[in-house]
Symmetry: C2
Subunit: 368 residues, 2 copies
């Protein structure tokens, strides 16, 4: 099941606020989904995710299929129960990960043969198998199996990926049958405008309850990403949620919403946290820097999260320098909170018809 | 300031329940103190420590002195504020760590010259300097600078360590002047009964508000530890708290309380957690073991902590195998909770005059 309703729009209809109803809850959009690759958002407990205001997380089909296995998770009662996360979950299709395994894979129209990055064992994924796996995992939203072409790639490669993505989307549609799980389609086409148009047309005809824009944020210049978003959102049905995959930089969330996107996911907040970097309203803070050694002010004076209320930059720097796990825990919490809060603020701006002011104000303060 | 009152005794007076009043709170004894070496209990937030029922933690003077430095922590407003821990803190003297730096140190009656394990830089600690540092850190309880002889060591070495420990204890007493901080004395003497007696006599005469039993749990057979405890607690004033340093195995907490100990600290619960091992009422659970791959029961069916209520052994094993930080977080929480709860149960047994039954019942179930 999935229901989506738009509550308000701004910027002549392109920026949208809405509400997404899933089997495990109702969530305000636009929404950012932190990534829990291996059935855990790294360095955060489910309780911390809840306190940070997280509604939906993304988990990775490829990783869970290999370890601990979809059958085990099904026997555990599904992914929600297995990982003790009662709210929304979206699982990706594994396509992105499998196509990133350079040299370890063989692609045909039937599916992809590949070797596990863990133990080298051989595996085969097809649209049907990916649907089986995702239905066993039991996320609220499943994704179609797609072919994600790299950047840069030739027009021919991108054409091939679009063809296969459409072929596989149809097979996913035909095979998927779990009623409490919504299946989203994915638009590919790399940075080629006509291929994006073709892909959107072929995917939309299958009438998915939601559409993802895949194959962006894979190394292309930001201007390419914005250009493709500019044209893609006009090609997708206005009344269905639009999900931009793999995007999580604060400025890109803003640019995405401006271009009609409702959902985002990215490892960025938790990954940069583990490298000792924090988001702030002024830009990124590299906590390790010596300049913070005796800085007893909060990470981000404009943030009201538990970390900014209770800890100083000096303490966080000490934890980073001493290689303490609490550094990862606290910085991950702050970074996730920061993006969740940013999305709430963007949403409020849309509701108040002030998206443009919010957008301008953001860039006045934020140092990219 | 420090106040200690014994509320009840059992086993003809040797097992005691009591109440310890410090600048940062009133705590029931017997008590277990988790270790926060570098101003953080590894993989646990202060909030988690609070939820696990932790009253006092121990932090390490040696580590904090080297990084981030006592002056910095003083300028931050003291250790409590720096690390956002509003309850009790005890700092050790750094003696144990300095004497563990094999080959890197030179000891005289004046103090210890040593090289930092972090960057090799030269440092000198004396009783007076250690008092200065601990007063800057501002813990509720500070420890005298002592010489901890290794196990095994010769009678002559142990004699020398006792002589210096007494000399230094006097100098610590003379130098210490922070009124909101209590200074404890430490009894040494290795496994030699007459040296323990001599050390206790020389330390007790200085009239500390509390006494630690040091130099045990350093590799000696358990029977030696129990034998030394049997004789030492009779040598210490009955109305002062007794603290057995570095002890945290469940069975040793029980044996310690049986022999008149009120306070314990140890890295054990958090250290074994990071190696994927959990305490349980039946003994240790090596979570990584394949036998738990599809075990959907809790870590310890007799434990009511958040981890045992919400997660299965199969999930925890998955986290350990996948090398996820959440494994460390959840297992550390459970292990700390387990010891805190054990101490509460021991306390209740003493209050009910049922320590012996509790003791026997524990060993019937617990697989060492």
């Amino acid at each position: 099941m999935l229901d989506f309703k738009i509550t308000r729009t701004d910027l002549n209809g392109s920026a949208r606020s809405g509400q997404l109803t899933t089997t495990h809850g109702v969530f305000n959009t636009p929404i950012f989904m932190p990534v829990g690759t291996q059935a855990t958002v790294k360095a955060m407990t489910p309780q911390m995710l809840g306190e940070a205001g997280v509604g939906i997380i993304l988990s990775n089909t490829y990783h869970l299929y290999l370890r601990p296995g979809a059958d085990l998770i099904e026997r555990a009662g599904g992914l929600h129960k297995f990982m003790n996360w009662p709210r929304g979950i979206l699982t990706d299709s594994g396509g992105f990960q499998v196509f990133s395994l350079k040299g370890l894979r063989k692609i045909s129209d039937e599916g992809v043969l590949f070797h596990s990055h863990i133990d080298g064992s051989r595996h085969f994924l097809s649209p049907e198998i990916v649907m089986q796996i995702q239905q066993k995992l039991g996320a609220d939203i499943a994704m179609s199996f797609d072919e994600c072409a790299p950047f840069p790639c030739s027009y021919e490669e991108a054409t091939q990926a679009v063809r296969r993505t459409s072929l596989w989307a149809k097979r996913c549609c035909d095979y998927h049958r779990r009623p409490d799980q919504a299946l989203f389609g994915i638009v590919q086409g790399n940075v080629f405008a006509d291929l994006r148009e073709q892909s959107a047309r072929e995917i939309v005809v299958l009438d998915f309850p939601g559409y993802a824009i895949g194959g962006l944020s894979v190394g292309e210049p930001k201007q390419d990403m914005y250009r493709i978003l500019d044209l893609t959102h006009h090609l997708l049905p206005a009344d269905k949620p639009r999900y931009l995959m793999g995007v999580g930089a604060p400025e890109d969330l803003l640019e995405g919403v401006k271009r009609g996107v409702d959902m985002f996911d990215c490892v960025l907040p938790t990954r940069i946290a583990r490298h000792g970097t924090a988001f702030s309203h002024r830009g990124k803070v590299v906590v390790r820097n010596a300049t913070y050694a005796e800085d007893f002010t909060p990470l981000d004076p404009d943030c009201d999260c538990q970390v900014c209320k209770n800890y100083s930059r000096a303490y966080l720097r000490h934890l980073v320098k001493a290689d303490e796990m609490l550094a990862h825990i606290l910085l991950s919490y702050h970074n996730v909170y920061f993006l969740i809060k940013l999305m709430q603020e963007i949403r409020e701006a849309i509701e108040d018809q002030k998206f443009e002011q919010f957008y301008n104000h953001f860039y006045e303060n934020y140092n990219i």
